[in-house]
């Protein structure tokens, strides 16, 4: 369970981004965050992960390990790392005293790569992967740490529909074991599988799933996803 209450946050010298905001993520749920660019989605994720400190409010979390999949454009593709090493450093907590990994961990890495259909390309560099393979590689890295909360920042942006479908299927299959919190713009694709939806637009606003379905179909939410509240 993740509970955020009375959250205030502002960047130095800027107007408050959140005031008295609250959020509750239940275990083994699939929650999505939607909202316009600049509305505070990534800031909220950074607060949850502990990289940003709120000026006020309480954050209570029972999650012990967080897995994080950053936005695709934030991945340094020039970094010289093979896919298999990329997943290995995800399970860095299992490092042995001599600085390597034992056979059990290697097998675990192999299982993750096979599950995400990446084993056959394990020796490729990240920059040699397609958009869909790269996103699956990021998910594999995050899963290697055995997370109980998986945070994904727009994992389906800039990839083709087939790759998008494959990633969504993987995420839905994980729901039984991992709590998922995802920032996305793909409302229509995700709504049937989603437990909770939050609209983050200079505030955190829970959105009723059924209402959102109807409103999305009618195009009523489009303006909320383009312009932050109050602008």
């Amino acid at each position: 369970m993740l509970e955020i209450e009375n959250l205030d946050f502002n960047y130095l010298g800027s107007a408050p981004l959140f005031e008295n905001a609250k959020l509750c993520i239940r275990p083994n749920t699939f929650s999505i965050i939607i909202g316009p660019n600049g509305g505070g989605k990534t800031t909220l994720l950074n607060i949850i992960m502990g990289f940003l400190k709120p000026s006020k409010g309480t954050i209570r979390s029972s999650f012990k390990q967080i897995g994080y999949v950053p936005q695709a454009h934030k991945i340094d593709l020039e970094f010289p790392i093979r896919l298999i090493d990329h997943v290995r450093i995800g399970c860095i907590q299992k490092l042995t005293w001599w600085g390597g990994f034992d056979k059990k961990t290697d097998l675990f890495v192999q299982q993750i790569l096979e599950k995400l259909d990446l084993w056959s390309i394990k020796d490729l560099r990240l920059k040699e992967l397609s958009g869909g393979q790269l996103q699956r590689a990021q998910i594999a890295h995050a899963l290697a740490s055995n997370p109980d909360l998986l945070i994904l920042d727009e994992p389906t942006s800039n990839i083709d529909p087939k790759a998008k479908k494959q990633i969504l299927e993987i995420l839905h299959s994980l729901k039984e074991t991992v709590t998922i919190l995802m920032v996305t713009h793909d409302l229509e694709t995700l709504l049937p599988e989603t437990d909770q939806v939050f609209l983050v637009s200079n505030a955190i606003e829970p959105v009723d799933k059924k209402t959102l379905c109807v409103h999305t179909a009618m195009g009523l939410y489009e303006h909320r996803l383009i312009q932050p509240r109050g602008e």
Partner: protein, 273 residues
């Protein structure tokens, strides 16, 4: 042409180059992938301050405590510590702090060298180096450095990889990012101190970034990049030695130009898709 290696000075320079290449290939890989080339540059110039102070103090109190190498080690570790602290606590000011430390080190070095009685060439030697004059003591220090780096990299290879690739993900995986970053900077500082005696501050920067950068363009992993970095660094050094001996031009500058030329040729040949 290879006869020149029968010259004891050239042979010594070749051995020093080979040993320097091992250290440069290993640490250069981290300098390149962690994008800390300017930090290495700043440390390599900051230690001139420590050397200048020690030269001055030695002229007043001739004691082994004030050997220039001791001053270089203290000032480089101090510079690495300050840069590391600024990076971890005030990341937005990092580039300014790097430039300030670079300038402070050089200025202190020049001021103390100027007030030291007699003509002093030692500081200039550290700045420009002279690999042809590599001594047995320097060769031994280079061997110790190579052993230290090989052991450190073997133990910390995945941890250094994790903090170099993505600090945020490393922190979520409970990796002690701050401590490892400071260890990495300390290793860079020690590498700089030992290498600078043989190759000088100018060639040192070329050694620490260009061969590894060339290697990074044609390898798939960190291990391969390090091995190729050592290979390229050795190759560039030997080409530099041959050209320098043939045309009777300064060795350090020749090696630095060979490194840079290969790097830019590779940039032109290996265009990114």
């Amino acid at each position: 042409m290879l006869d020149i290696f029968s010259n004891p000075f050239v042979a010594m320079a070749a051995i020093a180059s080979l040993l320097s290449s091992i250290a440069s290939g290993i640490m250069g890989t981290y300098v390149v992938i962690k994008r800390i080339v300017f930090i290495a540059g700043s440390i390599s110039h900051a230690l001139l301050g420590g050397i200048g102070v020690c030269i001055y103090l030695y002229s007043l109190y001739p004691s082994p405590i004030f050997y220039p190498l001791n001053g270089a080690l203290v000032s480089s570790l101090l510079a690495a510590g300050v840069i590391g602290w600024v990076y971890l606590k005030h990341k937005d000011r990092e580039d300014t702090a790097i430039a300030a430390i670079w300038t402070i080190g050089m200025s202190v070095g020049i001021i103390f060298a100027s007030i030291t009685p007699g003509y002093n060439v030692e500081l200039m030697n550290y700045l420009f180096g002279n690999i042809l004059w590599a001594s047995i003591r320097e060769i031994k220090l280079l061997i110790c450095l190579d052993v230290l780096l090989l052991l450190a990299v073997f133990r910390y290879r995945y941890l250094f990889l994790a903090i170099s690739y993505n600090e945020k993900q490393a922190r979520l995986n409970h990796v002690p990012v701050d401590r490892l970053y400071l260890i990495l900077l300390a290793l860079v500082a020690v590498t700089v101190v030992i290498l600078i005696q043989a190759v000088g501050a100018i060639l040192l920067i070329a050694f620490l970034c260009l061969p590894a950068a060339v290697a990074g363009k044609c390898t798939k992993s960190i291990d391969q990049m390090m091995a190729a970095g050592v290979g390229f660094c050795t190759l560039f050094s030997f080409i530099g030695i041959l050209l320098s001996a043939t045309w009777n031009i300064p060795l350090g500058a020749t090696i630095a130009l060979v490194c840079s030329t290969f790097y830019f040729i590779l940039l032109l040949i290996k265009k990114e898709p």
